[in-house]
């Protein structure tokens, strides 16, 4: 990826200066792992695809929860609606995954703008309750309209054409994996630029003190609406990836629990860093996958425990471990430099 020249521009004073080397390593590592995984994973590529879908979903949440400080429990609405939009599009209009994907992005983005316009004038607990109501309403709508969505049986019978008419979604999941990786990468670059811009900074200002921002003439409501729509579109994109890669959409994609899970992932990894979504989603998924074999409920304890530790001791999520590690290393170096 292009070397981000603006690593220090967001809340710079809060961060210890990161050396160029470390920053580069930090930027390259996740993508190197993702690309490397493609070649070594063989049978488990579909897990990788799932993880990337959740990363994208968590990334979209970071834009509103992390940067803009919009505390929501309704984000699954956009994820699920994106998935259903992609699924229904492939059944009723065209099996072309790219057109279906764009359709899903537009639908969920519009839904974000409409619901956001209705509720973004509120804040705090009121807003939280309204997001809850939104996602519950949409869930119930999906549940009741069996003829359209398949209700609790889920949406079946999706056909997905090869991408560009060339790359078939095969059973090994290579196409789905690369597709998800490319989409994630594009959204990541987009988010990075978006958050390292005057617009992103104004959102961060709104999170810190919206009264201050109004006093300097910021149209707070419009700014929040803009990022809410963008974030919803991104979540819908993640939903579309889910629909295309599994050829199935379940009601659970719209559930409150899904909202909760993506929030836990983001908090676990760390908010307001974009990469926090990567770490949080990956760890969550891997812990779930490895401990569920031992005991189906064991992973909940593990994840719950990690969440508590994170919230209590790591203000910036698991990504803080990296910073702590860096600090220890540099201290160790300094000490060994002494005569």
């Amino acid at each position: 990826m292009t070397k981000p020249s603006s690593t220090t521009t967001l809340a710079p004073a809060a961060l210890a200066p990161i050396s160029k080397l470390w920053a580069t390593v930090g930027h390259v590592l996740p993508w190197a792992i993702a690309i490397g995984f493609f070649f070594v994973a063989e049978g488990s590529l579909s897990i990788g695809t799932q993880i990337m879908i959740w990363i994208l979903f968590a990334l979209s949440l970071d834009l509103i929860l992390g940067y803009a400080g919009i505390v929501t429990l309704g984000h699954a609405a956009f994820f699920g609606v994106g998935a259903y939009a992609a699924g229904l599009f492939s059944i009723h209009f065209s099996p072309d995954p790219l057109i279906g994907h764009i359709f899903a992005i537009v639908v969920s983005g519009l839904l974000g703008l409409v619901t956001g316009a209705l509720i973004l004038h509120t804040t705090g607990v009121t807003f939280l309750m309204l997001t809850l109501a939104t996602v519950s309403l949409i869930f119930e709508f999906g549940n009741q309209t069996r003829w359209l969505t398949g209700g609790d049986d889920g949406l079946q019978g999706m056909r997905v054409d090869p991408i560009f008419g060339m790359f078939e979604f095969n059973i090994f999941g290579q196409t789905a994996y690369v597709y998800a990786l490319v989409v994630l990468f594009i959204w990541f670059l987009f988010s990075w630029r978006l958050m390292h811009s005057p617009f992103g900074r104004s959102l961060d200002g709104i999170r810190q003190n919206s009264r201050r921002m109004r006093a300097i003439g910021t149209p707070v409501w419009w700014r929040l609406l803009a990022i809410y729509g963008i974030s919803a579109a991104m979540a819908g994109s993640a939903g579309a990836l889910l629909a295309h890669s599994t050829r199935f959409v379940g009601l659970s994609s719209l559930s409150l629990l899904t909202s909760g899970i993506v929030t836990v992932m983001l908090i676990l990894g760390g908010t307001r860093k974009l990469y926090g979504a990567f770490i949080g989603a990956a760890i969550y998924y891997l812990v779930q996958d490895s401990t569920a074999k031992i005991n189906p409920h064991f992973w909940e304890f593990i994840v719950g425990g990690m969440l508590i530790i994170t919230v209590l001791f790591l203000e910036g999520g698991l990504m803080d471990l990296g910073r702590i590690g860096r600090r220890l290393i540099s201290r160790f170096r300094q000490r060994s430099d002494l005569p």
């Binding site: 603006s6 617009f199 201050r212 109004r214 300097i216 149209p219 707070v220």
Partner: protein, 251 residues
């Protein structure tokens, strides 16, 4: 109508339930005016600022900024039209640097804060102008420091710097030196004395010496009502004012 007044307030009323906090208040600020607003705690001074800036909605009354009615406008539109304020209690972006607090205000004024993709040279311009402004205020050295680490007095100066960054036509200063130890307050008073002369300023201030020196007209507010108004000398000698207010603070 020729625009001879920077800010014109007519018959402003506001109650919180049974508590009347603004009662038929009329205020005129000519361009470049220096008007002091005084009154005991709870008189409704901050509320008056909030009504003017749109953070509170008046029950009735009109507010015109350079001849344009603004009472139906959102706070941000009033700011964009040239009405800026400072806060009695610091209202700053505490996690950002002092420089960025000012730069964001400049970016917002220049309609540059909607830029969504990357920082461009324009943002750098904003930060340079912010540095220049901080220098004028005598706090150039704190530009790179996080606001929450700054001494209170410097945070108060930053409040004023942000308001000035908006290039206002009318500036409302709500107790700019509130909470600052008296040996440091002179720094703020020095800044007040040097404010651009073309800006119309309404200042709320408890230090009577400061306000008598700064203001050319003084309005005394009591329980949401204008008790009296006039030139500083006149207010100083007003027995009614002395009785309700000055008696306690002026030696």
């Amino acid at each position: 109508m020729t625009v001879t007044s920077a800010l014109s307030v007519r018959g402003l009323n506001k109650s919180f339930g049974a508590l009347v906090v603004a009662q038929a208040i009329d205020v005129e600020l000519a361009p470049g005016a220096r008007v002091g607003l005084i009154g005991p705690n709870g008189a409704g001074k901050t509320t008056f600022v909030n009504l003017l800036t749109g953070f509170l909605k008046p029950d009735s009354g009109t507010i015109a900024l350079e001849g344009t009615p603004i009472e139906a406008m959102s706070p941000e539109m009033r700011v964009q039209r040239g009405l800026a304020r400072t806060h009695q209690i610091n209202t700053l972006l505490r996690e950002d640097t002092a420089r960025d607090n000012v730069a964001i205000a400049i970016a917002e004024r220049k309609k540059y804060a909607w830029r969504m993709m990357r920082y461009t040279p324009q943002w750098k311009h904003c930060t340079e102008q912010a540095d220049a402004l901080l220098r004028d205020m005598g706090i150039a050295d704190v530009g790179s420091r996080q606001v929450r680490e700054l001494p209170y007095g410097q945070q108060r100066l930053l409040e004023i710097a942000i308001a000035l960054a908006l290039k206002p036509r009318v500036l409302l200063l709500d107790e700019p030196a509130a909470g600052v130890p008296s040996e440091e307050a002179h720094r703020i008073h020095d800044v007040l004395a040097k404010l651009p002369s073309d800006i119309a300023i309404l200042i709320i201030e408890h230090d009577m010496e400061v306000i008598f020196r700064f203001a050319r007209e003084i309005i005394v507010l009591l329980q949401g009502r204008v008790l009296t108004r006039g030139a500083p000398a006149q207010i100083k000698d007003d027995p009614e004012v002395r009785a309700v207010y000055l008696g306690r603070t002026v030696v």
